[in-house]
């Protein structure tokens, strides 16, 4: 049984009015016989039957409006090769310049342009070449300050932002100087230059003072020994750093002045509410300090993983700008390179830095006046003496000691 739908017969009509029927239900028709006369706004047309057969049903009375696509006639026993059903869908409309016609209504317009929301984030001005460089170095160009015309971000700005790995060759043998053999000139790498600048700035601006202590980390050593297998199963290499970072983060919460920045212009102490702890990493090119964001919120395992990850990236020089910015407190582990103890330089504009030495076994006098062998860790806390005094420093260290000498406290805190 064939359902014949009212086709779009010209210039994109959507509807028509039936003026006259030529067939009755039950009547035999041949393909091509006129079925009905329809009036549209372009033409009056006789609509021919698409197939031969019997009219099984007729839909629509004279005077009634039918829409393109409406079934108007059902023809039964259509001839063997019945014609493909005439398509009345808009897209197959066959008709002269078949204009799609529809009653769809567009939203009303007005001449006021749509409210254009201003750009929410800062966008850098940069040439495509600069953008390419930034992308290759993994630097977010929109966060780089531009030193070029009209604030354009130049290649140099991008390189600087990464503390410049740039293909700067390692210092070559210097060109001969006035006293050949008496001296050798070694050019600093870009990173080296940055480090030199920052060190000088720190010492120049911040009056350093330091307190030192030795922590009995015997329990910690044991704890770590027991835990490191488990940690490895969890995909983390458990060194002492995660413990120290955690301890430091907790201590900083109680002594916020060590997680602050001094603002000399306004003579204010700006206490930072995030605890972004930087870990100094020694790389072949120099010192890099990747930052662990929100260290207070991370578990020991997370810290362990992150330390590993950041250290690796630092060595590979694949750190992003994100990863080296935003630090509020720094830890430096010179013990890892063999120094027993040291006096670190605060990373300007932070207010303190914790130096960590080497754990060694030492004879110690215990509470019962017995000499026992304990694992001892020397630490140094250097601080900005403009607003931090020895008393605060001492108390901070005491808190650290509490966490590190009784590691279970780290889990409970």
């Amino acid at each position: 049984m064939l359902e014949f739908r009212f086709p779009d017969i010209g210039e994109g009509i959507t509807e028509g009015v039936i003026l006259k029927w030529f067939v009755e239900v039950g009547q035999e028709v041949r393909e091509g016989d006129s079925l009905f006369l329809v009036e549209t706004d372009k033409v009056n047309a006789e609509i021919p039957s698409p197939a031969s057969g019997t009219i099984l049903a007729r839909f629509g009375e004279v005077g009634q409006t039918i829409n393109v696509g409406d079934v108007v006639v059902q023809i039964g026993d259509a001839s063997a090769q019945s014609a493909p059903e005439p398509v009345a869908e808009e897209d197959a409309g066959a008709v002269v310049g078949a204009l799609e016609t529809s009653n769809q209504v567009l939203a009303a317009s007005s001449e006021h342009a749509v409210a254009v929301n201003g750009a929410s984030r800062r966008k850098a001005l940069a040439t495509p070449a600069a953008r390419r460089l930034a992308r290759d170095l993994g630097v977010d160009i929109n966060a780089v300050a531009g030193s070029g015309p009209a604030g354009r971000v130049m290649k140099e700005d991008i390189l600087q932002a990464t503390d410049g790995p740039k293909p700067e060759a390692p210092p070559q043998a210097a060109p001969a100087s006035s006293a050949p053999g008496q001296e050798e000139r070694v050019a600093l790498t870009t990173l080296g230059k940055t480090v030199a600048r920052n060190m000088a700035l720190s010492k120049r601006e911040i009056p350093h003072a330091a307190v030192m202590d030795e922590l009995d980390v015997t329990e910690l050593v044991q704890f770590r020994q027991e835990a490191k297998g488990l940690a490895e199963q969890e995909g983390a290499k458990l060194t002492y750093m995660p413990f120290i970072i955690k301890a430091a983060a907790l201590a900083l919460k109680e002594f916020p002045v060590f997680n602050a920045v001094f603002a000399p212009e306004t003579e204010e102490i700006i206490l930072k509410k995030h605890y972004n702890l930087g870990i100094a990493v020694d790389t072949p090119d120099g010192l890099l300090v990747p930052v662990i964001k929100n260290a207070d919120q991370k578990s020991l395992l997370q810290l362990a993983r992150e330390v590993q990850d950041l250290a690796e990236k630092a060595r590979q020089r694949t750190l992003s700008l994100e990863e080296i910015q935003g630090g509020t407190f720094t830890l430096t582990n010179y013990g890892a390179v063999g120094a027993l103890s040291g006096v670190p330089v605060i990373k300007h504009p932070e207010s303190a830095i914790l130096g960590i030495g080497t754990i060694t076994k030492k004879p110690v006098v215990d509470g019962d006046d017995q000499v026992v062998i304990r694992h001892m860790l020397p630490i140094t806390l250097a601080f900005d003496h403009r607003f931090i005094d020895g008393g605060s420093a001492g108390r901070f260290i005491t808190r650290l000691r509490a966490y590190l000498e009784q590691p279970l406290l780290l889990l409970l805190a």
Partner: protein, 325 residues
């Protein structure tokens, strides 16, 4: 206010213009008695008589040339070319005279005339009924070229064109003639020629289009929105003079640009926009300014035309590449 489709809007606007200004005359092939093959001029001859609305012999060069003469002699002619593909015989008149008379006479004589024609394709018609000529016209100094994409805009722009003392080519996207209706105010209003419109604000990608493609571009933008790409869609509305400000302001905000048009890609209208963006927003670009355009082939006959003309899906595919560059 009335709900009108594009063709009814043209008709209504001509009626309005003719009522207001007796210098406005309307003519072309089948324009008078029949009211135009698309019914754009229906009823006008009855209302205004056959001196002001009339049929011409089949001769496009003469139609445009006569319009030139009428404009010189104080009328404001609105000449119809039945399909943009039939404008070619009139090109000599358009390039040699319509565009140049003001300059030739150092402003002494000018041509306040409009040449209107159905434009663009997607209407399943024979050869020459689907052409996009805006790049040819846009390239001729002295002409203004306008392409509305909605009934509301069409009325405002058409009235502006008729009242403009410079010659205007008014391109009517035939695919849109009956595709939808819109509220169109009954009273007089104009929309300035040379002003594009941001029809969807966005932050990630600027998409410029005109004519029938505007509506597909909006649909493409919706597809992208669902993927988290917030495209800004601009309806150019006037090809010449181009609204550089609106386009550049948008690109400076988004950093990414694509132009979508029916006309063939090479040496097409999109090339002009890409050049504009490169020159005016170079430092803001995060991706190459891109053209999504017709293939460099003769527009296919109806059975093949769906390959040529882009739907929202294909547009979105092209836009995605720009967004993700």
């Amino acid at each position: 206010m009335a709900l009108m489709n594009l063709i009814t809007t043209i008709n209504h606007t001509l009626d309005l213009a003719m009522a207001q200004d007796e210098r406005v005359v309307v003519f072309g092939e089948d324009v008078g008695v029949e009211g135009g093959v698309f019914r754009a001029t229906v009823g006008l001859q009855e209302k205004y008589g056959d001196q002001r609305c009339f049929d011409t012999p089949l001769a496009e060069s003469a139609i445009v040339g006569a319009a030139v003469g009428m404009a010189i002699n104080g009328l404001r002619p609105v000449a119809e070319i039945q399909f943009s593909g039939f404008a070619y015989p009139a090109f000599n008149q358009i390039v040699s005279h319509v565009a140049r008379l003001r300059n030739r006479t150092r402003g002494q004589r000018s041509l306040p005339m409009v040449i209107r024609m159905p434009h663009g394709g997607g209407i399943k018609a024979l050869e020459h009924h689907s052409e996009s000529l805006e790049t040819f016209f846009g390239h001729i100094p002295g002409l203004k070229v306008v392409v509305p994409s909605t009934p509301y805009d069409a009325k405002g722009l058409f009235l502006a064109a008729i009242r403009d003392d410079d010659p205007v080519i008014f391109l009517e996207p035939s695919k849109l003639y009956r595709a939808f209706r819109q509220e169109v105010p009954e009273e007089d209003y104009t929309i300035p020629i040379g002003k594009a419109k941001v029809i969807k604000a966005g932050t990630d990608l600027t998409v410029v289009s005109w004519g029938a493609y505007v509506h597909e571009a909006v649909k493409a933008a919706e597809l992208l929105q669902a993927e988290g790409i917030d495209a800004e869609v601009i309806d150019l509305r006037t090809i010449s003079p181009l609204d550089r400000e609106t386009v550049l302001e948008s690109v400076k905000k988004t950093g990414r640009f694509a132009v979508v048009h029916e006309a063939a890609k090479s040496f097409g209208p999109g090339a002009e926009l890409v050049a504009l963006v490169n020159e005016g927003a170079f430092l803001h670009l995060e991706a190459p300014p891109t053209r999504l355009a017709g293939f460099d082939i003769t527009i296919p006959l109806p059975r093949g035309e769906h390959h040529y003309f882009m739907d929202a899906q294909r547009m979105a595919a092209g836009l995605r590449k720009v967004a993700h560059f």
